[in-house]
Symmetry: D2
């Protein structure tokens, strides 16, 4: 019997409703390359939720493609990206942004987050023109790579600074669902429209087979966007498969419900861990739980469950990371918590 | 009622067996990024069909990504690609290859094909080193962009020249299924293994939702291939969705059956057209039919069918292109042919 | 004794006046990176000659750098260059433009020149958006790579088309001196300011050690230009050495006098050739002479002179190319002509 | 009267012997693009001094070009550079290395230097393949950007680690002359041949008009090097001007004498400063002096001398940087020291 996995939020396929719709629409003949009626309708629903009738929306197949395409569209060759040191583009995308020619200026992170102070320091240290690349775009992830959230106040402060200093603001939303559905969250999709130049809404990690939706709020950035999608290999012949999935996610609130479920399972897991007397290494804000467990217990748990051992801590213990998803069941969590007692 | 479409071979979703397997495997927890068990099994089946136990195989989401990643993997910055003037990378990929830094040296095509003579001329004209980029990789498509086939003898001649002149040979197989399943074809998958350095097997246009399989026969080219997939945005978190589809295609002969069906529908359409007294503009070798019809007839047909009007010809006529697919039914073809009689 | 060379116009160092000035100014302490007083003064003189008080002017070390930097500054990743098939960037710069990510759309040349018709055809054939790179900049060389000239009417027609179609016009002036000093020329520097978005004035081939001056007429293109110079390695620490040379060239009419001398030597050579009964393969418009000589004579001449044998022609003859420069003397030409008689 | 400048080591033109040779050789007709006899002879002399008869040597116009071309030649797209956080390519070249597609992995510096420990940490943190770019080349500068030296033992340790871990070692020698001529130095040119894969010898900052010599010790890296020079705009038509200068530098020991002079002037300045009772902020190892002076004194000195105020320090003082060069005279230093007394 396979181990139950808390490794990540992309271990399963898609939510069954998504598959149903793919089957249901399968034989209708549609225009290729994203000009199908499902993509059109999905964008209408999404614009409603964004409260932004004019937002330009594009669907692409992966998060790295969303980042490559968005940044390729925004920057000239001498312009650089500002990112937290934990930024996905910096540490987990194999130099994808440098491969399209752009320097990433690294800023120390605080709980996975960029701060106005960090951005200002980066601007100050990178002002020896023209011997330095010109900072032009601020990249941040919400939820962050370590599962934390930006508050509306934090995002507003970053956005304000960007506008004062002529910087574009771009948000990587690989786990935007988890962020917007978190208990502590006070950010909305319309906030993101208002505060950023462009951002993307991750589908893959919320319950789609694949697919991320790029939303462009700054009209000047929208004009030739589709060229970049095609040039970087992101234009699917059967764009319908992204359209159908996003349509199912956003014609109702399925997207948010699935994200909320994942967060709730993380809360349940957190409660189980603290209830059993173990400490968390970080507050559980979204769908990632970081807990400190004795190594002996970890070894025992690994007979039944898959998860990452994050780092050793003194006293023969370690931090483990447990990720929940739309597909995580209460039963899985309960089984895990039950084993904590020995 | 929507028009019946002969526009392309990617108007529908996927063959129902593919969808069934996606549904059936949906909830099993799998390793991400292509390390799932379905991808592993799919590659085993494919290696059997290739008769190449050691072939390195990678699945990616689109044909342009397959081309970008393969060429990025093979070339140093000063090395160039040789392509026919009709090559997809040259005329339909928005400068994707140049965007990763490589010149494409253009060779006149004959029926959409490269010839040894054309390649030799290109080598001769591009030998003024170091003032010219160094030809290093020959790119060709089979079936070609105009629906024609390379014979085994033609491919062998190109391959031999490449090896004599230190050139890599790379085959774009967006419609490889159509080629290998054509009546006139004498090329096999093991031939491609033997004759090329790398090639890819198109899934999208044969009946998958998406997915292309890159096969690397030259071991020296395989070592770091996965870095390029990730760097160019081609590594899907849920790589399983490509694995499941290719597994279904190649555990049996589904891939070839679907391609054969498309070719047969094209033959049926051809026979219907010639039977009704109309001329073809080119022999129907795969799943594309080029026919010459009176403009009045074209206008009438367009009330019920979608297809491209390719070019005007004298006598108030035009060439039309009709593409069939795995999903084209005999009924659709019959309905079209019936309308030819007026 | 070394052979007298008609191979090219960069076989010698610099005109003695240039060297004198380098020596004379050598020990003055100057700001680096082009902010020296010689560069400033050189630009003042040049702006006078351009009749363009606001032109942004930058000096770089080589023609390929001038092309790389100018094009990198002008284009976004999905935008392409239109060039004649004889364009230097296309056939003699080792894929430098593709290496910075841009496709070059090739147009058939007429006497080395682009025509409005050729450009229009290229636009027409490259309009299948977003599957094709977007034509955005027209590149042409004056004098052309085969030594011919654009007339003012021809340049005006190209410029007009560019403005109508939203294309930038960029002129490679590696041999602009030869062009502007040709007997048949009717183009002026102010014409180039008026008709192009940017162009460069070649120094190397007219009599400097090295150095090309990029002139930007379109203000929108000037803002961040210096970043590109630095990023591509074109910003010399001792920018003064370019400044001093251009100052010497343009504080008087030395630049034009040297170019005129080279053209006159070519005319003298032409006259000598036709006077001796030999035919030219092309009219001698600038400082390149193409003549048809018997192979036996060529072999004899090669005992004393260096030049390129361009191509064989029937009747045991060949076209030879003879290039003159600021340093070519009447004596050299006379010695060559004398040998024509046997 | 202009201020006497200690701003940098490239405020003047070239050493008079260099100019003499440029004048003397000016009219000889030479092959272009570096195939001239002066370049050939310069390379012979240099190979003698390197004690490396087979070293491949190339001359280019600027340090940034030397870095761009060398790294473009060495790396595939997914491969990254390791650099100290003070590395010139990282902080003063406008993203030039990223612009050709490569990530730079940053390592904390110690006195401007990379250590084996730092490199090992970088390897450890960048091993999550294929989600991270693959470290492949170690870049360091000697002298460093802050004027310090690598000892032979330090370079040997870095070299050994590189070979154990499959990394190339590349040394930026913009100020290699200053390093090799320093009192404390124990590294030789043959050491660099033995310990590195490639390195370059800076000419500009030692007394040439311009020019850097790239030395390739690893034969596998030499084969197609000249393509990269041309592709990046670094191939001068009149390559002779680099050849003549390097010939003059290396046919005798002029290169080392000029560097030694600059270092001696820095020592003289240091002694003057400490003799007058002021503290140095760092030991003076090469031709850069960092001293702590009262702000009032700084203000007074600025009436006669140009230099950079580096950073404020408590007590109404600041660190100033004073750079000497081949052209700095004892009189200039004496005049400066004299003013220290008030």
């Amino acid at each position: 019997m396979p181990l139950s996995s808390f490794l990540d939020d992309y271990s399963e396929g898609a939510h069954p409703h998504i598959l149903d719709k793919l089957c249901e629409t399968n034989l209708s003949q549609q225009k290729p390359y994203g000009d199908d009626e499902y993509s059109d309708k999905a964008k209408e629903h999404l614009r409603d939720k964004l409260q932004s009738p004019d937002a330009a929306i594009y669907f692409v197949a992966s998060g790295t493609l969303a980042n490559i395409i968005s940044i390729a569209n925004c920057l000239r060759p001498h312009e650089a990206v500002i990112s937290a040191s934990s930024g996905h583009i910096l540490v987990r995308e194999t130099g994808a942004i440098e491969a399209i020619g752009h320097k990433i200026i690294v800023v120390d992170q605080e709980n996975g987050k960029l701060t106005p102070k960090g951005i200002q320091d980066a601007l100050h240290k990178n002002a020896h023109y023209p011997h330095m690349a010109k900072p032009r775009l601020v990249y941040l992830s919400n939820a962050t790579e370590v599962g934390t959230l930006y508050t509306r106040a934090e995002l507003t402060a970053v956005s304000l600074l960007c506008r004062q200093r002529g910087l574009l603001l771009f948000v990587d939303g690989a786990r935007l669902g988890a962020a917007l559905s978190a208990v502590k969250n006070d950010v909305t999709l319309p906030d993101l429209v208002r505060l950023t130049d462009l951002f993307w809404i991750g589908g893959t990690k919320v319950g789609m087979l694949l697919g991320e939706a790029i939303v462009i709020n700054n009209k000047a950035l929208a004009e030739d966007f589709s060229f970049h999608i095609k040039q970087r290999g992101g234009l699917l012949a059967k764009g319908r498969i992204l359209g159908v999935q996003f349509l199912e996610m956003f014609r109702s609130n399925l997207y948010f419900e699935l994200a909320k479920h994942a967060n709730e399972m993380a809360q349940l897991l957190s409660s189980g861990l603290t209830g059993a007397g173990y400490k968390l290494d970080a507050e559980t804000e979204t769908n990632q739980v970081f807990a400190i467990l004795p190594n002996a217990l970890i070894a025992k748990l690994q007979n039944e469950f898959q998860f990452y051992v994050w780092e050793e801590v003194p006293g023969d213990k370690a931090v483990v990371r447990l990720v929940t998803s739309w597909a995580t069941s209460k039963e899985q969590v309960a089984a895990f918590v039950k084993r904590l007692d020995g």
